[in-house]
Symmetry: C2
Subunit: 327 residues, 2 copies
């Protein structure tokens, strides 16, 4: 008995030691970006340190499109919308002649875009409203199970960034609560974020349409209405954070102008803070885009602010050993 | 060494055994109400049971006013509002003649109520809007630190129900996430729910006014606007649950007609469910009120539905050994 216990204890010690020594961010090249994340986590979790933050206040927020998964050639939710219009077209013969549906069904995305924001909103409402929350949840899951990305041929949920998965895990292992704060639809993300990112539905903040309580087939239902409820982008991000989390993050991760105010709001709190921007500069392994891109615009003004404020800018090309888990 | 280890293991066994045997709800009299809670928790947490629910899906929602703390002679947030009008009156000489402020400042609450919902809304906006979220947070904390209940003379945060504190703790010890879903103001509750109930800000759902991103003294701020954003009552409760939690609760606790749809929504899910209504029938130790009360109305229709659906109705008089922790 004594021998067995001693052996077990020794094995546990070895394991604990290995876990301690292991690199929490193995897909990150050693460099200032990786170091800024590790330094921050180390100082806010060290009891007695002047930068120590109690676990319940360790809130970290993550943009989704372009920060946790890819967003090219367009936001994946837009690709979902296109697929849904095609799937629903047989029930809507009027769409054959009615814009922006007619252009979309002819594969003419330029024609769709000519309709501007109004056209996009129409497409979104036609595909995201009119059903119960549970029906929409199932539609999203069914789509993700079969749809493939036009360039990589991979499932969309495979096109998440391995280095960011490691950051999420590393933060949670250090007592952080990780939240998604995205311009994307809250109910488009919730069906899969727990499985893919380890982020449960109640820790997802996003844009939304209104829902309404109804009785359907004798049972209560929440029906999705074709009416904007909240846009979780730009100044909407701090508003969404306040509404859903009720606490200022101590760390925020983004990749575009839409994340600027979230990072500013995070930085404006007291104590140690970590603001990170992912820069898409890897045309070979992912995409390279910046100030000129309509999707995920990273303006020169944002880059200047990042430098001035000491925010961490991650070069996907130089800082990341791997982009996707499947590599 | 062997002796020490054996002793330690034995002590641990004893402790584990004691913890197991201890009554998780010591302020509850033995009876069907207490038993329904324990039975439910036992079956949804028992691995292999047909009623087993994985921990991330163990969501329990609690109304606040009348379910977790008292709500008489009026909602405590209204008493806060009254105190704030008095405190702010010197800066608003016009209130001396302007209704509903004039009546309130004369102590004529009947005159205030004569103005109906519009008058109440005016009082709320005058006291809850116009400042930053951080300023409001501080105002609530300062008030709670000094204000005393007109009947008991206790701090408002002392007038929470000991048996419900035990339910919150018991559920969390069994892997549940406990959420507040209240008609009260979300930012009125968040400053104190973590300390008083163990419910962190991100697990509080409530009514809200709009907030707006501004720059104040060179720093970003969220300013509270005199405009309703969301009313988290009646059919609003399932809507608020869907918006904030994104998952249907498996258990819900309320005490009035405002909670009916939350309980119906909870019950309509698959698998084991627990719906509980606290009935205020203890005029001696708390208050006794029901269908005729304007605050916390518990209509005959609600009681009939509870009986028909098999919801647990808690008699404060008979089921609770203690009401408040200070007793």
């Amino acid at each position: 008995m004594r021998n067995l216990l001693a052996k077990t204890l020794f094995a546990l010690l070895l394991l604990a030691n290995a876990a301690f020594a292991a690199d929490p961010l193995p897909s990150w090249n050693d460099g200032p970006a990786k170091q800024s994340i590790i330094n921050f986590v180390t100082k806010v979790t060290k009891a007695g340190s002047p930068d120590f933050v109690p676990a319940p206040e360790r809130i970290a927020t993550f943009d989704n499109d372009g920060t946790l998964w890819s967003e090219q050639p367009m936001y994946f939710q837009l690709l979902f919308t296109v697929d849904r219009v095609k799937a629903l077209a047989p029930q809507h013969p009027e769409w054959q002649t009615q814009e922006p549906f007619a252009s979309l069904l002819k594969g003419d995305m330029k024609g769709v875009m000519a309709g501007g924001e109004k056209a996009l909103l129409e497409l979104v409402m036609a595909t995201h409203a009119g059903m119960t929350t549970e029906e929409f949840d199932k539609t999203v899951k069914d789509w993700l199970a079969t749809a493939r990305h036009p360039k990589t041929g991979k499932r969309y949920t495979e096109m998440v960034y391995q280095p960011m998965l490691e950051v999420l895990t590393y933060l949670r292992a250090n007592g952080f609560k990780t939240f998604i704060v995205s311009g994307g639809g809250i109910e488009f993300m919730r069906p899969w974020t727990e499985k893919v990112y380890g982020v449960p539905p109640e820790q997802v903040v996003g844009s939304s349409i209104k829902t309404q309580w109804e009785t359907r087939s004798g049972k209560p239902a929440l029906v999705r209405l074709p009416e904007i409820n909240f846009i979780d982008d730009k100044t909407g991000k701090p508003v969404g954070i306040n509404s859903h989390i009720g606490r200022r993050p101590i760390s925020a991760f983004g990749n575009s102008d839409g994340d600027r105010q979230m990072l500013e709001w995070t930085q404006a709190g007291d104590g140690a803070r970590l603001m990170v921007l992912v820069h898409h500069d890897d045309a070979k392994r992912e995409w390279a885009y910046g100030p000129e891109s309509k999707i995920g615009t990273f303006s020169d003004a944002l880059m200047a602010e990042a430098k001035k404020q000491g925010w961490t800018v991650v070069s996907m090309k130089n800082d990341w050993i791997r982009i996707y888990p499947f590599e």
